[in-house]
Each structure stands twice: as C-alpha cells, then as structure tokens.
C-alpha cells in the first residue's frame, strides 16, 4: 500500500493510533484522547466507531482480545503498518513545526536574511 496516500492523518486518526499503542478498548480510547489533549478533543462514538472499522479494514490496527463468554471488552492494538503510517505522519509534522519557526523569527524582529543564515 502506498503510505503517502493516507497522509496527512486526520486528528482523530492520529490520536486513535496513538491511543492503541498498547491494547485499548473503545471507551478507553475516547478517555485516552481526552487525557492527551486535556479535554480539547472528545471523540464522538460515531466518529470513533467508523474510524476503528476503517483502520481495521486497512490493517492499521487489529483486534487484540475478544473473549466471547466473558465481559471482557474488545480491545484493539496498532499493527506494524499502523506504526509505519504514524512514523511517516510524524516526519511530516516535524517538518511543519520546523518551518513554523520561520514565523516566530519574524515576530522577534529578525529579518529573512538572518533566518536563512540559521538554517
């Protein structure tokens, strides 16, 4: 699969992948995302359900445990492919952040020549 085609990740997909770095279940993912974003991002159950179905189908995450007769909740965990996608996205985000510093440079009163010297 062409990884580039799936980037950039939506914010929801990014945080869901991150939340299943270890096995996690549906509601646990919602809570984890809220914790990571200090309550800024609260995934709706419809959004999360759809994302999990899509990512399972694409092989980015897989079912980790499912015991029919117990009350255990269905858990999901990231796959190697999912990790690779996440790494690519991280690279892209790092580039974004690096370039974002150019803006700060201007605010601090430096001119463009100096900024170019830095890099």
């Amino acid at each position: 699969m062409d990884i580039e085609r799936n980037l950039p990740l939506t914010e929801a997909l990014f945080y869901i992948l991150l939340s299943v770095r270890g096995p996690n279940h549906g509601y646990g993912i919602i809570q984890e995302v809220e914790k990571l974003t200090h309550g800024r991002l609260s995934l709706g159950p419809g959004t999360l359900y759809g994302a999990i179905q899509t990512m399972t189908a694409r092989g980015w995450i897989r079912i980790y445990s499912q015991e029919k007769n117990s009350r255990r909740k269905k858990e999901y965990v990231v796959t190697e492919l999912g990790k690779e996608i996440f790494r690519q996205e991280r690279k892209r985000l790092e580039e974004l952040l690096r370039n974002a510093e150019l803006m700060e440079g201007e605010e601090n009163g430096r001119d463009n020549d100096q900024v170019q010297d830095i890099f």
């Binding site: 279940h25 919602i30 359900y49 269905k74």
Partner: protein, 243 residues
C-alpha cells in the same frame, strides 16, 4: 400528567427529528419506542437524556460490534427502524454528539444520501407502475388518486430532504477545502425538471376524463421523460461524482 404518551410524526429530516426528541426530553418526555411514525414517550426528569439519530449498517439491525461499542460509551439503543438508529445517553455524562469531525460527518451524510437515492428510485418505479396501471384501466378511482398523491408526496419529501443533505455536504466539503463538484448547480436543475414532471403527470391524471386520449398519452409520456431525465441528472451522474 400521563406516564406515557404517544405522538405521531413523519419526517425525513433526521436533524429536525433529533432536535425534536431533545426538546421533548427537556420537557420531561423521554422517547422509548417508535413504530411507523408513532413515537412513544415516558416521563423522565427534564433534560435527563440526550438523543441522537444514526444510520445503521443494515435494515432493522446493527452489528454486535456497534451494540457493544455504544453500550461501552454509555449509549443506549432506543429504537431501530428501517435504517435509523435512535440513541440516547444520560445528560450527566456530558455533551452527546455522534460525529465530532468533518470527515466522519461527511461519511455520515453520504450514507444518508445514498439511502435516499435508493428509496427514491424504488418509489419512483412504484409510482410509474401505478400510473401505468391507471392508464390501462382507463378510469380512476378515488383510491387511485389517494395512493398516487401519497407516493408523489413521499417522493417530493424525500427529494427535498436529499437537497438538504446535499447542501450540508457541499458546506462540509468547503470546510475541508475540497471543491463541491458542482453539486448545488446540478441539484437546482433537477429540482425544476422533477417537479415539472410530477406536476404534469398529476394534472394529466386529474383531468384525464376531459382530455382527448392521444393528447393524454403524449402528455403522460412527456411527464415520464421529464421525471426520468430529472432522476438521471441527479443520481446517474451526480451520484458517481459524489462517490
């Protein structure tokens, strides 16, 4: 005040329905059941529940996965009707929105649009069959007219709702920075063709007795062509570009 209450309401607009259910819950009536347009309510503490309407994966059913998932998130499946899932959650658990980003909201409305497309086409075929049978019989009973008006009304309602959903989708695509693919323009054109076709057909049926048969047939054919072209314009091409 009564402990339970029944209200009749027909609407294709799931967003208006959601607002209405939440209004009722705010007044102390929690929806507990639905059957063919009849909503059953039970008394609850005002504002005890928040309601949402989702579209299901299959008719009158949702997957075990979906059930488990919703249950875990504190969401109760109140009713399954056709492709609609009516859900509620206790308000104390916080705001209740099913879809919280543009991407999944687009997916949601596209599913709805797809469903309406299929239903409209089926009902349109039924209407055509109905009209054909009437023209074969030669005379039109009151019952024929009633069923024709009901079907026509349903189609008109569904088409109107499709335009509303289309409009929402165009706005969502714009927020994403994607071009709306000329959906709006196409929609407006179709609206005129379809309504013209429906009106003409209706007029022919009503004045059937007083129109010279060959003219009647010609007018009916014209109406059928108008409606068919209207349908093709919207869902033959527009549908594909939306996929």
């Amino acid at each position: 005040m009564a402990e339970t209450m029944t209200r009749f309401r027909i609407s294709f607009d799931k967003d208006a329905e959601t607002v209405w259910l939440n209004d009722m819950a705010a007044q102390g009536y929690a929806m507990t059941g639905f059957f063919m347009g009849f909503f059953t309510f039970e008394k609850c503490a005002p504002g005890e529940y928040l309601y949402q309407v989702d579209i299901s994966e299959g008719m009158f059913r949702v997957s075990g996965d979906y059930r488990q998932f919703m249950a875990e998130a504190g969401v109760e499946i109140v009713s399954l009707w056709g492709y609609w899932v009516m859900l509620r959650r206790r308000a104390e658990m916080g705001p209740f929105e099913l879809y919280t980003d543009v991407e999944s909201t687009i997916e949601h409305y596209r599913k709805i649009r797809k469903l309406f497309k299929v239903v409209v086409v089926i009902e349109f075929l039924l209407l055509m069959f109905n009209t054909y049978m009437m023209s074969l019989k030669g005379d039109v009973s009151g019952m024929d007219i009633v069923s024709w008006v009901v079907l026509g009304g349903l189609i008109a309602g569904l088409v109107r709702e499709m335009f509303r959903v289309n409009h929402i989708l165009v706005e969502l695509y714009e927020r994403q920075g994607r071009p709306p693919e000329g959906l709006m323009l196409q929609g407006r054109k179709v609206s005129v063709l379809l309504s013209a076709g429906l009106l003409l057909n209706f007029a022919v049926l009503i004045f059937q007795g007083s129109v010279w048969p060959p003219v009647r047939t010609a007018l009916q054919m014209a109406a059928v062509v108008l409606m068919a072209v209207g349908l093709w314009r919207t869902w033959g091409r527009g549908g594909r570009s939306g996929e």
